[in-house]
């Protein structure tokens, strides 16, 4: 019988440490599938960020470098500039990419670095125990916004994909979710496309993935999954925001 579903070659056969119902594992798998699809495992270098995503090196069967909090895109740019023949990607959470590392995120995109960023947006700080993130929704209660996020104190949730899409330097920008099979298939295609943009040297690619964090949202896995569709997607609309067809030329 033909084997139609198996573990991607570039994922190591150990259980994820992620909480039950967490979407990180799905997003990891989609990245792994894209790397397998293009047969680039042996020439791919991953950059892990700080947060729940830091253990990437335990799961991916590829070379991995750990970056300081927020600096993954700068680190990845350094790797890529030194080895232009390699495929380089980061996997960063919302605190890492949109708070402490927002300057690096913007300037990496603006320089059109030929890297791929997978942005895991679950609207909360997972690793540190559920504090408010730059992408926490208005009214959302977290351990540091116990009365609910109030824009008069905390500002508004940042839409990173929209922001980076405005930059001339970005080539591919998409926002996806993995909360149902239809969205998951779109997410898979977007992540694959992001790697393709890098392989074809078209430019900087960025995929924001909306993820559920049941533990820190104080929900069951099912409730959290449902919340992605009912609360996150309305504020963070899905879709391909930008897709350049060819590389910039001077």
């Amino acid at each position: 019988m033909e084997l139609v579903f198996k573990r991607p070659e570039c994922l190591i056969d150990i259980p994820f440490h992620f909480c039950p119902g967490c979407h990180h594992g799905i997003a990891h798998r989609l990245v792994a599938e894209a790397i397998d699809y293009f047969r680039i495992r042996e020439k791919t270098i991953g950059v892990a960020s700080v947060g729940c995503s830091v253990f990437m090196y335990d799961y991916f069967n590829i070379d991995v470098l750990e970056a300081p909090h927020g600096r993954a895109s700068a680190v990845a740019s350094g790797v890529k500039r030194a080895r232009k023949d390699r495929i380089v990607f980061t996997y960063q959470g919302d605190g890492d990419l949109a708070a402490i590392g927002i300057a690096e995120s913007i300037h990496t995109a603006n320089r059109g670095e030929k890297i791929t960023i997978i942005f895991a947006n679950n609207g909360i700080y997972g690793m540190t125990g559920g504090q408010m993130a730059p992408t926490t929704l208005l009214g959302q209660k977290t351990s540091t916004s116990p009365y609910g996020r109030d824009f008069t104190y905390d500002g508004y949730p940042i839409r990173m994909a929209e922001m980076l899409a405005t930059l001339e330097g970005s080539a591919f920008v998409a926002r996806v979710a993995v909360n149902n099979p239809a969205n998951l298939m779109k997410a898979k295609r977007a992540i694959r496309k992001a790697f393709q943009m890098q392989i074809e040297e078209i430019g900087f690619s960025f995929v924001e993935v909306l993820l559920a964090c049941p533990t820190n949202w104080g929900m069951t896995a099912l409730e959290a999954n449902k919340r992605v569709g009912e609360e996150m997607i309305p504020y963070f609309p899905l879709g391909i925001l930008k897709e350049r067809k060819m590389a910039d030329s001077l």
């Binding site: 892990a48 070379d63 790797v79 030194a82």
Partner: protein
């Protein structure tokens, strides 16, 4: 490029940039700050034609992390800045040390604290020699005091950083950064990089490499800290460099590094002209500090005068190094102006007897 040995007249900052190219460092990342801008300006012009990469980053934080990424591939890479920018880089330097990655950080220091000023200062001695960032680590610190040394020590810094898989720092200031002197380059010399089996190049035909500084398992981090410690101990044994001037018969020895050592050297000549038996001990490696040579010297000489462009930092290392009965005096000149050799001579006379 043909090896050549003619003398050229260049600024200290330019000498560093030339040394980087001659050492096979074709990756530079930095952010503008006075008084070191000649380095990025020179490299922005000369790296691209050589197939190198120059990035003017959005900050010193980005610069040091670009360096971290580039270095992880096994390539030689550098950044340069000045004091406040170097402060911003400390987190990244700590990660370089923790992940055991080489890399060159040039600090053509300004004066502080805060925005301070741009005049020559040695106020970053503690920051440079005590690690600078969080955690228990050290960087290799080299302190040039001439333009030729700016070049030579930059070449050495790349070699030592690779040898020990540890970041190396060049600690200079505006005086030797901006001053011009004759320089002999050794361009075209063969560059032998040590094998870097740890480098991230893609796991092709081998197990994946990981470069990280997070250690959460019981005992792991402790072991890593001891491993780093042993590396620093080996540096202390093998890499100490210093210069002694007229110390053989000296009754008083000046201890100074970098630009302050230049002034001190002239003062030693003035003192000798007056028949005063004065010498100079100049640490070239600030870490590893030349503890033992200074201790050995202190068995013959009992009076030392430490001179620094700050209120007393290397002074602590001098006191820790010398024999117990040695007298260590201090002349500090916080940033703003440089002492003249004659002023230093007056200080010498205070402590000579």
């Amino acid at each position: 490029m043909e090896p050549h040995s003619e003398k050229i007249l260049v600024k200290g900052n330019e000498a560093i940039a030339m040394a980087a190219i001659d050492s096979g460092c074709l990756l530079y990342f930095g952010y503008p700050i006075t008084p070191q801008n000649d380095i990025p300006e020179y490299l922005s012009k000369h790296l691209p034609p050589l197939g190198g990469e120059f990035i003017q980053a959005e900050s010193e934080i980005a610069s040091i992390n670009l360096l971290l990424g580039a270095s992880a591939t096994g390539a030689r890479a550098m950044t340069s800045s000045s004091s406040p920018g170097i402060s911003l880089m400390q987190e990244g330097i700590s990660y370089l040390a923790g992940s055991e990655l080489p890399g060159l950080i040039v600090n053509i220091s300004r004066s502080g604290p805060g925005l301070g000023g741009i005049s020559p200062s040695q106020g970053d001695y503690f920051q440079a020699t005590r690690g600078g960032g969080h955690g228990d680590y050290r960087t290799i610190v080299l302190a040039p005091s001439s333009i030729q040394e700016m070049y030579d020590l930059t070449c050495l810094a790349f070699d030592l950083a690779d040898k020990y898989r540890n970041p190396a720092v060049i600690l200079g200031d505006a005086l030797i950064g901006q001053m011009k002197e004759p320089l002999v380059r050794r361009s075209g010399a063969k560059i032998n990089l040590p094998p870097k089996e740890w480098a991230l190049t893609g796991a092709d035909g081998r197990k994946p490499n990981r470069l990280k500084s997070l250690y959460l398992e019981e005992g792991e981090l402790s072991e890593q800290n001891w491993k780093l410690h042993q590396k620093y101990e080996r540096m202390k044994k093998e890499e100490v460099r210093f210069e002694s001037v007229c110390t053989e018969d000296a009754k008083l020895v000046l201890v100074a590094f970098g630009s302050m050592a230049r002034v001190s050297k002239t003062s030693v000549e003035l003192a000798r002209e007056e028949g005063l038996k004065v010498g100079l001990f100049r640490p070239i490696t600030l870490f590893p500090f030349p503890e033992k040579p200074l201790y050995d010297l202190s068995k013959r000489v009992t009076r030392f005068l430490t001179l620094e462009l700050n209120t007393g930092q290397m002074l602590e290392d001098v006191k820790l190094s010398v024999a117990r009965d040695a007298q260590v005096y201090f002349y500090g000149r916080p940033p703003g102006s440089l002492p003249s050799p004659e002023e230093v001579l007056e200080e010498i006379k205070k402590y000579y007897q």
